[in-house]
């Protein structure tokens, strides 16, 4: 069966936009700007989430002091860690050695390359096992630190962002000089913003006397986590709380992610009101300039609904053009990395803008929604005109 659309041709809609080139560009540009802000915020959130989720592995467990939010706040005595390391759910190597590492985390400030201002970086005392537990961390240049030495390796973001960080240089903190022997790349993870060295050396330098920040270990099977967690909870000697590593890092970004979305959405809402008003003005003038055409189309037999649809389509196209422009510019942001302080850990964290298909879809939908809202009243006005009045218009 043939469907009779009774629609005004799309060419009519599209060419009217092209005819008013400047107005169209300005109006679409306004909406594009809003879409850009909107998409950028979502990309920032996605990048942050990706970074912190990838920092952890589901088979790894992190133990910190119950009630602490971060590794830096946490303190665990050696006796408790020794008791924890004997849990049967922990994976062991061929020699029966557990994949278990006690780590010492300290925040220390270093001058940033561009501003020269000091910023906090996380210094992590760990071991060969600690490196083995994070296969996503790969040496980009140099070598790893020797156990029992004052050698350190630094993450890519530290090497890029902080002054004087290079292989062969020394960094001074905790009244010692530390020799940089390697730079590592940990993919998109938060480890890139850390400095790693020998755990026992850090204990001494920072005078920790047997208080560690955390322990990281591998489960023999990922689904043994619940059994381990209840065993730890039941043991009255332990003040330890265990979490899957990826859950732990995701939780650390919550405050920042929330802040980004609230700030971003506030900006988006304010800007979008302006863009919608702009689209409304443009569409009202588009209607006003074509009153006689509307009258003629109606006389020929196009229904009110066809006129409504034609002007709505025009506004939607305007939004779509703006949306595509906004998303295109926003996609260029993928090449930028943001380095900022995570307020939950007080340490510097680097992450990038990440564009996902979901963000593209959301941005274009948002652009279409702005076009719809901007075009609705003018389109309604166009469709409600009396034919004879429209035709009498000069």
């Amino acid at each position: 069966m043939m469907q009779r659309l009774r629609g005004v041709p799309l060419a009519y809609v599209w060419r009217n936009l092209l005819t008013r080139r400047l107005t169209t560009a300005l109006t679409a540009g306004g909406m594009g700007l809003v879409v850009f802000v909107f998409a950028t915020v979502l990309m920032l959130e996605a990048g942050l989430r990706e970074t912190l989720v990838e920092t952890g592995s589901p088979q790894n467990v992190i133990a910190i002091r119950a009630g602490s939010q971060t590794e830096v706040q946490s303190g665990l005595p050696l006796t408790e860690l020794d008791a924890l390391s004997t849990q049967p759910q922990i994976a062991r190597d061929a020699t029966g050695h557990p994949y278990f590492v006690r780590e010492t985390l300290v925040l220390n400030s270093l001058p940033k390359k561009q501003s020269g201002q000091p910023s906090n970086v996380t210094i992590r005392g760990t071991s060969a096992t600690g490196l083995a537990l994070r296969p996503q961390l790969k040496l980009a240049s140099g070598r790893t630190f020797r156990p029992g030495s004052n050698e350190i390796i630094v993450g890519r973001s530290i090497a890029d962002g902080f002054a004087g960080v290079a292989i062969g240089n020394t960094l001074r903190f905790a009244r010692r000089d530390w020799l940089v022997v390697g730079i590592f790349d940990a993919g998109k993870t938060g480890f890139n913003s850390e400095i790693w060295g020998d755990s026992e050396q850090m204990q001494q330098a920072f005078r920790r006397s047997g208080m560690y920040s955390s322990a990281i270990f591998r489960l023999d099977r990922p689904d043994h986590f619940d059994a381990l967690a209840s065993a730890v909870k039941a043991d009255k000697r332990l003040t330890i709380e265990v979490q899957r590593e990826n859950d732990f890092y995701a939780a650390q970004s919550k405050v920042m992610a929330t802040f980004i979305s609230i700030l971003g959405l506030t900006l988006t809402v304010i800007f979008s009101v302006g863009a919608i008003i702009g689209a409304t003005i443009t569409m009202y003038s588009s209607v006003a300039n074509r009153v006689r055409e509307i009258g003629a189309l109606r006389a020929i037999g196009f229904r009110r609904s066809s006129i409504l649809l034609a002007f709505l389509l025009e506004a939607l196209l305007l939004g779509l053009v703006g949306g595509l422009a906004g998303v295109t510019v926003a996609s260029g942001m993928q090449f930028f990395t943001v380095s900022t302080m995570n307020w939950q850990t007080f340490a510097e964290l680097a992450f990038s803008f990440t564009l996902t298909p979901g963000i593209i879809a959301a941005s274009l939908t948002f652009a279409l929604a702005m076009g719809f809202l901007g075009g609705f009243l003018p389109a309604l006005q166009a469709s409600r005109m009396k034919i004879i009045d429209a035709l009498r218009t000069a």
């Binding site: 009779r4 020929i300 037999g301 009110r304």
Partner: protein
């Protein structure tokens, strides 16, 4: 039952502006027969356009009935009236009212979008209509690239392309020079003579009125007797 193309029965029309009632037509009562070519004359403001708009179904009477093919179009709702116009009426306006962003061919195709035709059929019919008005070599031109007379010929092609029985023309030569005006009148004459179209034309141009086969005068909202030409 009437054989008339259009039957106006005691039609009256008044406008309401600012609470004031402005009577324009009072008790208009006459028939237009199939194949008629009627010129409506009268001084400016006498209600010629108003009457034409009622016949064409783009305005509604305040009283009376307008029967076209047995249906009282005064009783149709907005959407039914739109569909009725699409199927039955071709419009020719004083200022052509073509869509500036569409080519001559696309303008002529517009009414066919309201008919159950595919793309190829639409194109063929539109080309045929443009050929009929002598513009076969101007199909790709935009209205701004055409003279007034050519634009009005495109408008005529648009008015006849869906083969409506009734063609209404409001001062079709009003904006044209003498020569172009004569060409338009010749076209209307052909449409009436050869294709049997019923034409109702509003004009205050005596030349145009002379081209029609019947003339009626409107004065103070009332219609004169029928003058019949050869």
């Amino acid at each position: 039952m009437s054989t008339a193309s259009v039957s106006l029965q005691h039609v009256s029309k008044h406008y309401e502006r600012g609470g004031q009632l402005l009577p324009v037509l009072t008790d208009i009562h006459f028939d237009i027969m199939p194949g008629d070519y009627l010129a409506l004359m009268g001084p400016s403001g006498s209600g010629k356009s108003t009457l034409l708009n009622l016949i064409a179904g783009i305005d509604q009477p305040s009283g009376g009935a307008i029967l076209v093919g047995g249906t009282d179009i005064a009783r149709l709702n907005d959407r039914e009236l739109a569909d009725w116009r699409a199927a039955n009426v071709g419009f020719i306006f004083q200022f052509y009212n073509l869509m500036p962003v569409l080519t001559a061919l696309e303008n002529v195709e517009l009414p066919l979008l309201l008919a159950p035709l595919n793309r190829r059929e639409r194109r063929e019919r539109a080309l045929f209509a443009l050929d009929l008005v002598g513009l076969a070599d101007r199909v790709k031109h935009y209205p701004s690239e055409l003279s007034g007379g050519q634009q009005q010929r495109v408008a005529i092609a648009r008015a006849i392309v869906s083969d409506p029985a009734l063609i209404v023309a409001d001062e079709p030569t009003g904006d044209l020079d003498r020569k172009s005006g004569e060409e338009i009148l010749a076209l209307l004459d052909t449409l009436n003579r050869d294709s049997g179209k019923t034409i109702v034309m509003v004009t205050h141009d005596q030349k145009a009125a002379d081209a029609a086969r019947q003339v009626r005068h409107l004065e103070k909202g009332e219609l004169s007797h029928l003058e019949i030409r050869q």
